[in-house]
Amino acid sequence: MARGKGWRPWQRQASPWARRGPWETGQETAPDPIREAEDRPEPVEGIRIDRTDFTGAIRANRRKSLAICLGLTLFGMALGYLVGWWVAPPYVPEGAGLPAMLLSGGGAVGAAVMAVAGGLWSTLALTTGDRMALGIAGAREADPIADRRLHNVVEEMAIAAGLPKPRVMVIETDMPNAFAAGLRPEKGTIAVTRGLMNRLSRDELQAVVAHETGHLANGDSRYMVVVSVMVGLIVIVAAMARNMAYFGGGSRRGSDRNGGNALALVALLLMVVAILAPFAAQAMQFALSRQREYLADATAVKLTRNPKAMIGALMRLDEAAAATGRDAPTSARALEALWIVNPLDGPGESGRRRRRAGLFSTHPSIDDRIARIRAMG
């Protein structure tokens, strides 16, 4: 859907959303000698974003996420089809072509089983998942008096997003990080660590909370649950298929007279797919996870209209993650994909930070995220 030409709401007079008033002078991010070398634009007093392309960023991201979800589901169903074919090979009359060999009732059943099992398991995970995640992280309800500022910031962001106020929780750890859980945008929870509240300015805290509100508003946890369930299914079925192929499962009806070639072909195909599927599925899952992070960043900019604070917050979180890195607690490890920055992204064996995100990273690299936020403003 292309927007009509010449429709530019941000060019109607000065700016329909000018809103940076005198009360929002959050202190600037402390200068960091290491980063001074990089091209950090000089902080401008009272910066105003009049042209933001977060809507475009959000649209493109939705498309990509949907494509990945669909691709993964089809992939799982294809695997199911192959296994079904293998378990109950079709009867192929003499001289039939390849299409006849590929059509299989067993295959159709296999594909359907994958789809239905995925649906059922997802439903189960969706109803219990967020409570479990909060429990693992050790999150507790935030006190409305002592943590007044956090409550205020969360409510402000809920107003900006037009959502009811989510539950506010605090995790008592010094590692600065945050995550959101919730099945529906209306019933979400935002959890931040004590370390995050202590280290960030009000505006930066607001940017982080906006990022999490973005996850809620975009229904990310739903996406991620469905996808991780599908990945789990694919991993399990692929393991089964490897065993079956190894121990020669499946009934060999008429393999000597007809369909022998097809059977050999499918067996080979099944072996290859069964070995590669888990890796491919996980790579897709992480690709989606990275997409959702970019989307939440874009949404945060949309909610706060303050990309500077988001960049500042990401930089501080990045530094802290570099400091804790591999000694992150087990709970952080288990929930790797949920956090706003990856808690495990510390210096590796070589002692150098990873500057690029690989195929198996749950988060894009901070540098990439900052570059994209800059491109939006």
Binding site: Q13, P16, W17, R19, P22, R149, E156, G162, L303, R305
Partner: protein, 193 residues
Amino acid sequence: MEIWIILGIVVLVALYAIATYNGLVGRRNGVRNAFAQISVQLKRRHDLVPNLVAAVRDAMAFERETLEAVVAARGKAVAATQRAERGGSAADRAQALAAERELGAGLGRLLAVVEAYPEIRSGTHVSELTEELRSTENRIAFARQHYNDSIQSYNDRVQMFPSNLIAGMFGFRTEEFFQVDAAETAVPTVSLR
């Protein structure tokens, strides 16, 4: 055979029309709700001002006029809002908006003053109140922003093809964005005598 195909197409078009109409209604209600949300936050600000003034009055003998301006602006804003709500004309509404603007500017100045004097700022009661006030100012700003965001998504629907056909048929009109004039976005000055 053909009759079924034609019937199928008709049903599909009808379903699309219903879904689009409902989407438009939902978005228009969203716009109205967002507007109501702004006045909720403005009320919150009215309720907060007396507490804040009481908290800083003694410490701010030297900034009398700033304080008095805030109190006066609040009185005007409350009165104007009540007039506007009791069946106000467009002029009443404009007056209420202007009064709120004045109050916002006054509070901005007051906040800046409080920030500038550490001995005032350090009182726990005062710092709590300034946090509340800052939050209120933010809420008002974000409520307005959300109002504009929902107007944008509603206007998109009204103007984009093909939903604009349905919108035209049932008389959905585009809404105007909420505008802020320069006076409100100006940064207040603090005199440090």
